[in-house]
Amino acid sequence: MLDFFNSTQSIHAIIIVGSMALFFIGFYGIATQKNLVKVLVSFDIMESALFLFFIGLHYKVGLVAPIVDDKTKTFTGMVDPVPQAMILTTIVIGLAILALGLSFGIEYYKLTGRNDISKMNELRD
């Protein structure tokens, strides 16, 4: 039974289902939530779903993390390192954007006392 869960396919399936669920939670969040913080959080949830999805799909049972030290002689049996590098970068960027967004939000809240994005409509003709 547990072996079943330990196979690559089932792990991938679980990850796909899980990340999709997460993605749609985020999707639901940005589609329904009007609070700026919640929207930003929803974005992050969506991004996290993507990261999970990507990293998860590159994981295969039996492979190890691509950490190279002095003892490593062969480079086989490791997962592909590129996705992890990419995801790391993306996480950093996401963080930066989140921070920027929150700082905007705070400043905006200080000025107006609002954080409802659907009511940000002073920029209009």
């Binding site: 940005i30 700026l36 929207v39 930003l40 974005f43 969506m46 991004e47 993507l50 999805f53 990507f54 799909l57 592909d80 590129v82 996705p83 990419m86 970068t89 993306t90 960027i93 930066a96 954007i97 920027l100 967004g101 905007f104 939000g105 400043e107 905006y108 000025l111 107006t112 994005i117 940000m120 002073e122 920029l123 209009r124 003709d125």
Partner: protein, 484 residues
């Protein structure tokens, strides 16, 4: 000089900015001008070299990261660096008349914006592309919120939210590509793109389309764009219009032709472009805010460019690139002049065009408007007629009719502004342009006229660019590292 400096120098400058600031604003401004000047001169230097050029970092592509400069990116490089020079000179005036503004913040993000934009057009690695995309994004969010007032912050937040959506789509697309092909090198992706399962490939294309289309202000995804223009200062508007939008457009069509999508999606992009053009020009008619008005005009022109660039014929594409160049110059001209106007009249209502008195500005605006409308002997005319000629050669008469008909709508509001400027009634306030702006606007106007009278100066480069865009074999060779 390695192509990497295009990114590196501005980044170094940005990091050094706090230090420069301590040295005094003169150093800050001067070094920024110097920097953009160096980049521009270097870009001009590239026009004499054999293209494509490549700069690789540590590992040879396709495994390593590299910058590739072909004819297509050279044109954009010239436009971007030139805009950077003009804007950094313009900021001298801006900070002189607005002494309390935070200069360092502007210069940091301005230079990072230029760096990111140049990185986007030079990068031959889709993930790097994404990183530069985000750099440009962050810089532009910050720049649009440069006015830390309600409007500025609102535009910053809006831009940020939209940018986040676009980046999610792009990240998703890149991940799917990597899952399918296992590489992020543009050359390899281009080679193997047709191997992808068609359904996934549609998904990828759509995600890229939505991602870059949103940023490049295509129709159903561009409802945010006028807000951003309205909320930010006019020099930033000029940058958005002539650099940022153009950079996204560059990537859009770069991928479009690299991935060989032109045969399948040409009509789709053309229709979307046409709708963008139509909707924006019609919407612009009803605007009372100048910045929004010119934002719509920019959207409309992007629509034409999308129509013309997707045709897969080197004639039309060359014309479109000519039009793009001319549009960048004209919009820069208009936004900079507009900044002067807004500063003096303290309003962004359309009525300011009827309230100022300056023969110089009137002429400058008139040249800009006529050029955008494609009226000889200004540069816009050559671009427009080349586009029309290209459509005619492919017997696409409906596109010709469409462009010309909508252009009349466009003429309505441009000439309404002109008429307001020329109107003698009402009280007029004298507007002093200032020496630097005088020179800058003269240079831009002169370029418009020169490219209108001697278009062969520019057509050489647009032809090069068009060929590089449509037949990216040379580019692929370099991107794959074969030629090294």
């Amino acid at each position: 000089m390695s192509l990497g400096y295009y990114f590196l120098l501005p980044v170094i400058f940005s990091f050094l900015t706090p230090y420069f600031k301590k040295l005094g604003s003169f150093t800050l401004r001067g070094s920024s001008i110097l920097l953009s000047f160096i980049l521009f001169v270097q870009s001009i230097a590239y026009t004499t070299m054999k293209l494509p050029q490549i700069s690789q970092f540590s590992i040879k592509p396709p495994l390593g990261i590299a910058f590739v400069l072909d004819g297509y990116s050279l044109l954009f490089l010239l436009i971007f660096t030139f805009s950077a020079v003009i804007v950094s000179f313009y900021m001298l005036w801006y900070f002189k008349v607005n002494p309390k503004r935070d200069e360092a913040r502007f210069y940091v993000f301005f230079n990072m914006l230029i760096a990111g934009s140049i990185g986007m057009i030079l990068s031959c690695d889709i993930f790097n592309l994404y990183i530069f995309f985000e750099i440009v994004g962050i810089c532009s969010y910050t720049l649009s919120a440069y006015n830390k007032d309600k409007l500025g912050l609102e535009s910053g937040i809006k831009y940020l939210i939209i940018g986040s959506i676009a980046s999610i789509f792009i990240v998703f697309a890149i991940m799917l590509i990597y899952l399918q092909i296992g590489t992020v090198n543009l050359g390899l992706i281009a080679q193997r793109f047709h191997e992808i399962d068609p359904k996934i490939s549609v998904l990828i294309v759509l995600m890229l389309f939505i991602g870059f289309g949103t940023k490049a202000e295509l129709f159903p995804m561009n409802f945010w764009a006028p807000d951003i223009y309205q909320g930010s200062i006019s020099s930033v508007n000029g940058l958005f219009s002539s650099v940022v939008a153009k950079a996204y457009l560059f990537v859009f069509f770069h991928l479009f032709y690299l991935f060989g999508l032109s045969s399948k999606y040409m009509l789709f992009v053309m229709v979307i472009g046409a709708i963008t053009f139509l909707v924006s020009e019609f919407t612009a008619l009803n605007q009372t805010n100048v910045k929004r008005l010119f934002a719509y005009s920019t959207l409309g022109q992007l629509g034409i460019l999308f129509m013309a660039l997707s045709t897969n014929s080197s004639e039309t594409v060359s014309g479109a690139l000519f039009h793009l160049t001319s549009h960048s110059i004209s919009k820069l001209l208009i936004f900079l002049a507009l900044g002067i106007l807004i500063h003096h009249l303290k309003s962004t209502k359309i009525s300011i065009f009827g309230d100022f008195k300056s023969r110089f500005l009137t002429i400058i605006f008139a040249i800009g408007f006529l050029s955008i409308l494609g009226i000889p002997p200004f540069s816009g005319f050559v671009g427009k007629i080349l586009i029309l000629k290209g459509f005619a050669l492919s017997h696409n008469y409906s596109a010709i009719a469409f462009i010309l008909l909508v252009s009349i709508v466009e003429a309505v509001y441009f000439f309404r502004l002109t008429a307001m400027m020329l109107d003698k009634k009402g009280t007029k306030r004298v507007v002093h342009v200032g020496f630097i702006n005088y020179i800058l606007l003269c240079v831009l106007a002169a370029l418009i006229v020169i490219f209108g009278l001697f278009p062969s100066l520019l057509i050489h480069y647009t032809d090069l660019a068009a060929n590089a865009l449509i037949n990216p074999t040379d580019y692929l060779k370099f991107a794959l590292g074969v030629g090294l």
